[in-house]
Every structure is written in C-alpha cells, then in structure tokens.
C-alpha cells in the first residue's frame, strides 16, 4: 500500500538576522532532515520534548510554514511545489486541530460560523444546506444544536476542543494533524476527547498525525510512533515495539520517566543531564550525544542515520546498526 503522506528530507530553518543591515547570521534548525511515511488509516504518534520541532513539523506538512527544503508527498504528489491554487485543493484533504482551545477559536465568531467557514471557502454547501451540515458535525462531536448560536467563550476547554475538531472535519479531510489536542485539558476531559477522536477515525476513515509529549496518550491512540529530538526523528516503530523493546537511549530515558499506575512496579529512572541542546548550533555527530548515557567516541564524530533494524523498527543510533537484507 502506498503511504498517504510521505515526507522526505524535510527541513525547516528559521533565519536569525542581526546587525545593522539585518544580515542572515544563523538559523534555528527546527526541523532538520526528517523522513516520515504515514499509511492511510493509521494513527502516527509524534513524540518529543518542548523545542524538539514536532509542532513545526506538523505545521510545515500543512504548509502553514514554508519548508526550507525537502519533499512532502500527499497521495504521491509533491505538495511543496504546488501553486497557491493547487494547494487549495490539498487543503481540503488535510486539516489541523490545535493545542490551545482558547486561542484557536475566533472569539468574535459564533460556533456555526466557525464550523461552516471551510464549507463556505470551498463552496461545498450553500444556504440551508450549510446549516444542516454544521448541525450534523456539531452532533458528531457531541455538542447540541443550541450551541450553534453561542460564542466560544461560553464553552469549557473540552467543548472548545470539540468545536475545533468539528471545524477540522467539516470538509471530510483524509489527514488530520492533531497538535497536542488534549494537553491543555483536564485528565477526565482528555479521555473523552481521545475517545471522540478514536470514534471519529473509525466513522470517517481518518488518518492521524498525532503530536504529543504524553506517552500515555500516544499509547492509547496510536499505531506507530516516531520520537523526535532536536529536529530529527531518532526512532520509529509500531507502538508496542516502542513500549516493549525501545532501542534508542533517548526513548529509554523517556519511557523510564513515564509515571506508572502500579506502585510496586519499580523502574530505574534514567535521569538525563542538562537541557535539550540548542537548535541554533547543532553539534557535530549525534545530536543526543552530549546527554546520552551510552555515548562513546564515534557518537561525537559521526551523525547516525535512521536505519531499519528489522521488523519496521527504525533507529538512528550507532549502538543499533542496520539489519542486513541478507
């Protein structure tokens, strides 16, 4: 099966300008050479700490920020080269749900106008039909008809996120980029929203790129997981592989920091030294080497590529060499 979304060597650098003439002095390497393929119907989880570039990756895939270089294939066609008009066609197929349900809804628009906006832009429905469709969508996400005529500030965080989801699915997109859709919500509300997302995925045949820093959430929702560190993906594997046999030292450290519900289950927590490195001056060699408990000489010299270590388990670490095809 062909991937729905295939990202190759994607880079997004933000230029830093300085001095009197605003010269280009350096770059923030927010996304630095990412390869990623998402299959139709899949939920792909993207995990990483703050500043690892996961949100930028999500926004670049939707061309909300223009990629510096690389290719993004959506159903086999490169959308980086699409003109403005061609891009309008792809926008119908990919939508985004934002992290902050307070800043993601226009406070001056009523729910019906928020949800119907994309229908109007792409002239999918008109008149009475639009209101019908909006009603249908709002019921689908678990809100009621009389909510249509209210403003966003009259809703709770969870309800607002439902409105954001209704807006995102209005055009029947194929791909939904979910940027930490539950991290701003209470735990109990998180579970409701996650269940709604799982439910919608089944009903509407959606593919998710689920960005989160919460491994528990990822485990609940996703089939496959990619771990990001300083703008690069360091490990990709099916979700059970990541939790049962993680390979990259960074993954091991992240998993050991995950809270356990069982108090008798003791894990030796791996405490990482220092902070996530600076995305401005990326050191030579492996980006994780300075904090890695298992680093050795080669790590500081050579940047490990992301290679297949067998069973669809990709790792970028010198400790885990590629499995030969033989």
């Amino acid at each position: 099966m062909d991937p729905l979304l295939d990202v190759r060597h994607l880079k997004k650098y933000f230029p830093i300008r300085g001095g009197l003439w605003q010269r280009h002095v350096n770059d923030v390497h927010a996304v630095d050479d990412v390869d990623l393929a998402i299959m139709p119907g899949e939920s792909f989880g993207l995990v990483g700490e703050s500043g690892s570039g996961k949100t930028t990756l999500g926004k670049t895939i939707l061309r909300l920020s223009e990629p510096t270089s690389g290719e993004i294939f959506f159903e086999g066609r490169d959308i980086c080269k699409a003109t403005h008009d061609e891009m309008q066609g792809y926008r119908v197929d990919m939508q985004m749900v934002f992290q902050d349900p307070y800043s993601s809804l226009n406070p001056r628009m009523k729910v019906k106008d928020i949800v119907s906006e994309s229908l109007l832009i792409h002239k999918r429905t008109k008149g009475r039909e639009t209101l019908e469709r909006v009603r249908e969508l709002i019921n689908l996400v678990g809100l009621m008809d009389d909510h249509l005529h209210r403003f966003p500030h009259e809703f709770s965080g969870g309800q607002r996120q439902r409105i954001g989801i209704a807006r995102a699915i209005a055009l029947h997109p194929r791909l939904l980029v979910l940027d930490e859709p539950t991290s701003a919500l209470d735990v109990s509300v998180q579970a409701q929203v996650l269940n709604l997302l799982l439910d919608l995925q089944k009903k509407l045949d959606l593919t998710y790129l689920f960005i989160s820093h919460d491994l528990g959430v990822i485990r609940y929702v996703c089939n496959r997981v990619g771990l990001m560190y300083l703008g690069r993906i360091v490990e990709i594997a099916p979700v059970e592989k990541i939790f049962d046999e993680p390979k990259h030292p960074y993954t091991l450290a992240l998993l050991s920091a995950m809270p356990e519900a069982d108090p008798d289950h003791k894990v030796q927590e791996i405490v990482l030294e220092g902070e996530i490195g600076s995305p401005i001056n990326i050191p030579r060699g492996c980006r994780f080497a300075s904090r890695c408990p298992a680093q050795f000489g080669r790590c500081h010299v050579e940047d490990p590529p992301l290679v297949d270590t067998g069973d669809k388990h990709m790792v970028a670490c010198h400790l885990h060499p590629a499995k030969d095809a033989t």
């Binding site: 985004m96 800043s103 809804l105 832009i121 403003f151």
Partner: protein
C-alpha cells in the same frame, strides 16, 4: 384572521430570533452594565448626545439665524447677556448664542470627517503593514514615522498657506496629520492578533488574505479603534479650533469656536462673554468625548479599568 396568523408568525419569528441571538443580547447587556458603572461616562454620553442634537437642529431654532452670516447690527454692539441675547453680542452686534450653536455643526462635522479620513487611511495601511510584515511593513511604518515627526500645527499651517485658509483646508491638514496614529495602533494590534491559532486555522483551510483580515483580525481589534476614535473626535475639534484661533481655519463670517475666542480675546476682560461661551462649548465637547471614550474602554476592555 389573516392578521392574527401574521401576528402569531411574527411572534414565532421573534422568539426564534431571540434564541439565535441570545449570546449577542447578553454581550450588549453586559456592555451597557459596564458603561453604567461609571457616572462620568453617562454624563459624557449625555453631553455628546445633547451637542449632536443641537448641531443638527440648531439652524432651525436659533433666535437670530441671519447672525450666522455677515450681517451687522452696530446699535447692538457688545451687549451683555440678558433675556434677548442669552450669551450677549459681539463687536458687530451679532448674537453670540446663535453663533455658538451654529458653530457646533461646523465643529462636529469637521471632527467626524477628520476622523473618518484618518481612519480610512490609517487602518488599511496599518493592517497591511502588520499582516504582511517584512519589507511592506518597513516601508509603510517608516513613512508613518516620518509623518509623525512633522508637527501637526506646522504641517497644517503650510497646507493652509499653500491652499489658502479655510475650514476645508484645515480639515484636510488635520486628517493628514491624524492618520499615522491609527496606522501605528492598528499595525501593533494586527501584529499580535495574527499570531492567534485561529488565524493559522483559517489559513490551513485556505482562507484568503482578505477573508483573514476582515473576518479574523479586524473584528478582534475594532474595539481599540473605536475607543481611540471616540477620544480623538474631541481632540480633532480642539485642533480645528486652534487653527481657527490663529486664523488659518474658519474664515469670517462663518461661526467657529476658535475664531470666536480669538476675536473675543482682544476685548477681554471687559466683554468677557464673547470668548467665554464658545470656550465653554468647546470644553463641554472635549470633556464629553473624553468621558465617552473612557466609558467605551471599560465596555470593551474591563481589565484596563482603574
């Protein structure tokens, strides 16, 4: 029978309208409540409403309508206020009350036109600069800065010197000096408003720049424009009067507060009424707009209240 059905239909329609607009009605109620919290705002609003009514209806009920033109009554010169001339008379015997009332219209018209022109130049420029950023922003904002460095009165003097003194030219001059304030305000507000996720969301669904500016950005910053405008009308009127005072604004015999104060100044303090009443009218206007602006600020941004 037919009327009855119509009435029932009307009531049903009204009920539906109320249900659908309940949220707006609530906003309005809250706004009115916040405005009423401050007595001074009510006083300001009352003053402005009163002056607007006076400016519109004035020409129809002033006691000596012909005194607004160049008529002279030498026998009536410098009469002190009494029953016949509420505010006294001026150096050619015209009724000061009549002229103060008629000048209201000149001032209000001018103040509003100056603001309309300033807003229709400043807001589009500021929106474009803030929204598109980069080079466009640099060019527009540097031009705005240059405009701001020229003192308003000086520019107004040069314009009226070039085009000849008149109310129209004074208004033109003030409009030109007034728009940079709006360009700056709007640019700063747009700059912060466009960072909201809902703008990103609109872009991700393929909304045009025009749609984003008009539906997502401007409605969220319109309140600060309204507040600034309501404060500025008063100051625009004050500036126009200043130009009238130094003689480059309204020309005689057109009644105008600034020009009246200037002529009355020469005969102070003996004929005190000549300058005092136009001064009081101006005071009431500026005070009214200031208080109204403060009240509106409370309505739109309750957090900024002192």
């Amino acid at each position: 029978m037919a009327t009855q059905t119509a009435a029932v239909g009307g009531r049903a329609w009204l009920g539906r309208w109320r249900a659908e607009n309940e949220s707006e009605l609530d906003e309005w109620r809250r706004g009115v409540y916040r405005f009423r919290q401050s007595t001074l705002s009510i006083v300001g609003l009352a003053a402005i409403l009163f002056l607007i009514v006076v400016s519109i209806t004035g020409p129809y009920w002033v006691p000596y309508p012909e005194d607004g033109t160049g008529t002279v009554h030498p026998a009536e010169r410098f009469k002190a206020p009494d029953g016949g001339h509420l505010f006294g008379t001026d150096e050619v015997g015209r009724d000061v009350f009549t002229r103060v009332v008629l000048a209201t219209q000149t001032s209000f018209k001018a103040g509003i036109i100056i603001l309309v022109v300033a807003i229709s130049i400043g807001v589009p420029l500021g929106s474009i600069a803030g929204y598109f950023g980069g080079r466009v922003n640099e060019i527009i904002m540097r031009a705005t800065d240059i405009m701001l460095t020229v003192p308003g009165i000086f520019l107004a003097l040069s314009i009226t010197a070039a085009l000849g003194p008149s109310v129209l030219n004074a208004m033109l001059a003030l409009s030109i000096t007034w728009w940079p304030g709006y360009a700056r305000l709007v640019q700063a507000q747009v700059l912060s408003a466009r960072e909201n996720d809902y703008v990103q969301a609109a872009r991700s669904m393929g909304a045009s720049h025009r749609r984003i500016i008009f539906k997502h950005i401007l409605p969220n910053i319109i309140s600060s424009i309204i507040v600034k405008a309501s404060l500025d009308v008063g100051f625009a009127i004050l500036n126009l009067a200043a130009l009238g005072f130094i003689g480059v604004g309204a020309q005689p015999p057109l009644p105008e507060w600034g020009a009246m104060i200037a002529s009355g100044r020469r005969v102070l303090p003996q004929y005190w009424w000549y300058s005092t009443f136009p001064g009081l009218a101006m005071f009431l206007t500026v005070f009214g707009f200031n208080m109204l602006g403060d009240g509106l600020r409370d309505v739109f941004d309750p957090r900024s209240r002192r």
